[in-house]
């Protein structure tokens, strides 16, 4: 046993050393500082890819490596461990992380609602021929969301509440977005909160949209953002400044050029080109609306996702 332990320890040490050598430490090479950004292969991060494509990051001395993740659950530990310099994730996850003493700070806006009822990049859909026509009627129903205790269920509850319904008895079920159009079509769930491109897929399969939960939460709701740790901000403020500036240009470009957003989608997703033409694009304003973060924080307090009132001022990195 002892020898085994020693061997196991030796093995573990070896692996850790190996990983330390290959880690995501940012380093200067050829004048450009190499950084790693955690992302997802979804529409929301089109500005990041466009920024690289248009050379905005290079202009600010950054060489970006985009690493695809399956979700915020992997992104936050990755940022904490230093594997990633920055990460993309929704605002609720960042607030929750701060509540758990993982000091994340938002350094750039990520993706914002279009603010148009019935024309947002995410919404609640019901199967073809469903009796549900109003958000209030979602009370007591079975609704699919991608993650429990996150931005989906809090904003859907808010939509129901706003419409005069009681969200208390809604049964939320966890389901990946790609599975939702089929689940709605088969009537496995009464409704689903779904985002693009699956919103378009669900609607073209006959589903009906009954709520624009992001718009209901706040007309300029910033759903997700790019964040890093307070440690990175303290140790390398210039890096953070460069990233924020490059993202600012990338978001401005994406917001002004929807055809460019659709073009870049063909490079990092596997989406069908016809589908790319059809989907509703989100808004990409360069600045996040802090008021909308407050609205999300209020919903999180109301639903008991956090114990104490989150400090929204501390959430955003002040330049």
């Amino acid at each position: 046993m002892r020898r085994r332990k020693i061997l196991a320890l030796a093995g573990a040490t070896l692996l850790i050393t190996a990983s330390a050598c290959g880690g995501g430490e940012s380093e200067k090479s050829g004048g450009l500082q190499k950084i790693t950004v955690s992302s997802m292969p979804i529409v929301d991060v089109a500005p990041l890819h466009l920024g690289v494509d248009q050379g905005y990051f290079e202009d600010h001395g950054l060489e970006v490596e985009i690493k695809n993740n399956t979700g915020g659950a992997q992104a936050i530990p990755g940022v904490v461990s230093g594997d990633y310099d920055f990460a993309f994730g929704n605002i609720t996850s960042v607030i929750v992380a701060r509540g758990e003493d993982l000091p994340m700070k938002v350094v750039s806006n990520g993706v914002t609602t279009t603010g148009e009822q019935g024309n947002d990049f995410g919404g609640v859909v019901v199967p073809e021929g469903s009796d549900i026509t109003e958000p209030a009627q979602l009370a007591g129903k079975k609704i699919a969301v991608n993650n429990l205790k996150n931005i989906g269920d809090t904003t859907v509850r808010n939509s129901v509440r706003k419409d005069g319904g009681d969200p208390k008895d809604i049964e939320f079920v966890e389901m990946p977005f790609p599975d939702m159009p089929a689940a709605v079509e088969n009537g496995e769930v009464d409704a689903a909160w779904v985002v693009e491109p699956f919103l378009t897929t669900a609607l073209s399969n006959g589903a009906t949209e009954v709520a624009s939960n992001f718009v209901d939460a706040h007309p300029s709701l910033s759903i997700a953002s790019y964040f890093t740790t307070e440690k990175v901000i303290a140790e390398d403020p210039e890096l953070v400044e460069a990233f924020t500036a490059a993202m600012h240009e990338s978001l401005t470009y994406a917001d002004a050029n929807p055809e460019e957003v659709r073009r870049i989608l063909t490079t990092y997703t596997e989406m069908d080109e016809e589908l790319i033409e059809e989907i509703r694009l989100p808004a990409f304003p360069p600045e996040a609306d802090p008021e909308s973060a407050q609205a999300i924080a209020d919903l999180m307090v109301e639903d008991g996702l956090v114990d104490s009132e989150p400090d929204i001022d501390a959430l955003f990195h002040q330049k």
Partner: protein, 288 residues
């Protein structure tokens, strides 16, 4: 897992012989050279045909299960992409590295623990506790230690493959024929020579079985890790296609992992035949 069970329940020669004797009047198709391969190809063709018909007839919506022809077209299209081959390379590297680490650790520890009865008894409860822990349950731990790179997936692969090989080695070392052992002793062979000339050949068939099981499990965990953690490789490509609603591409990539599985299995079997060419299981009927 399917590959594993298929291997372990592969019928031995005897039942076939018995059938041949029992149904002597029936034409013996298996005698025709190449008939086995022909039958196998026929089986594959039939499966593809069913796959083609099921979505086309509307039993399952083609939106969620595209017909075989559509998936095969997507698969062929993918063969021309460099990104596909990079993903295949990443998957093979993770698999091979994981299997190699598991193999080395399992052989060293297996022989060590197996040859010392005290150590074996001492560790057995710990091993029995650790062994059934599903590798995927370690994903949060792997991500915490190694982030989302290849090492995280490697940890899962090594953990899963290690037990498969380790347990086999352990049994193999214990299963040494006592007569052979005594004979070696009476000829004055030392501890090292006995390990080399008695224990090692006796344990080798067990070890190879362990490697075969471990190779399949390692591939499964490689794809699983890439799919859920997002380490680079075919698993991650599946996730990207899935996030994009590209259903045919998802199936095309799954097809690719299946082909990889078959290749790995054929490869390991070839190694087995080579390493154990002296063993009765490989020499087959010639020994009576």
């Amino acid at each position: 897992m399917n590959m594993m069970t298929a291997d372990s329940v592969r019928p031995a020669r005897t039942p076939t012989d018995q059938r041949r004797l029992a149904g002597a009047r029936r034409p013996v198709r298996a005698r025709v050279p190449g008939a086995g391969a022909l039958l196998g190809a026929g089986g594959a063709a039939a499966s593809l045909l069913i796959w083609e018909i099921v979505p086309r007839s509307g039993v399952v919506s083609p939106k969620y299960l595209p017909p075989a022809s559509e998936v095969l077209a997507a698969f062929v299209e993918r063969l021309a992409l460099q990104s596909f081959w990079t993903a295949v390379g990443d998957t093979l590297i993770t698999w091979a590295l994981g299997l190699a680490i598991a193999f080395a650790a399992a052989v060293v520890l297996g022989f060590l623990v197996g040859s010392v009865p005290l150590l074996r008894t001492f560790t057995s409860s710990t091993v029995e506790f650790l062994r059934p822990i599903p590798s995927v349950a370690l994903i949060p731990l792997a991500v915490l230690i190694y982030g989302t790179g290849m090492q995280a997936t490697l940890l899962l692969v090594v953990y899963a493959a290690f037990w498969q090989i380790y347990i086999q080695v352990l049994y193999g070392v214990v299963d040494v024929d006592p007569v052979a052992e005594q004979t070696a002793r009476s000829y004055g062979l030392g501890r090292w020579s006995r390990a080399r000339h008695v224990t090692w050949p006796s344990a080798l068939p067990y070890l190879i079985t362990g490697v075969r099981l471990g190779a399949a499990v390692a591939l499964i965990l490689t794809i699983t890790g890439q799919l859920t953690i997002g380490s680079p490789g075919l698993g991650q490509s599946i996730d990207v296609a899935r996030s994009s609603g590209a259903v045919a591409s998802v199936y095309a990539l799954i097809l690719a992992t299946g082909i990889l599985g078959v290749t790995v299995n054929v490869g390991v079997r070839a190694v087995e035949r080579r390493v154990l060419r002296w063993h009765t299981s490989v020499r087959g009927e010639n020994t009576a």
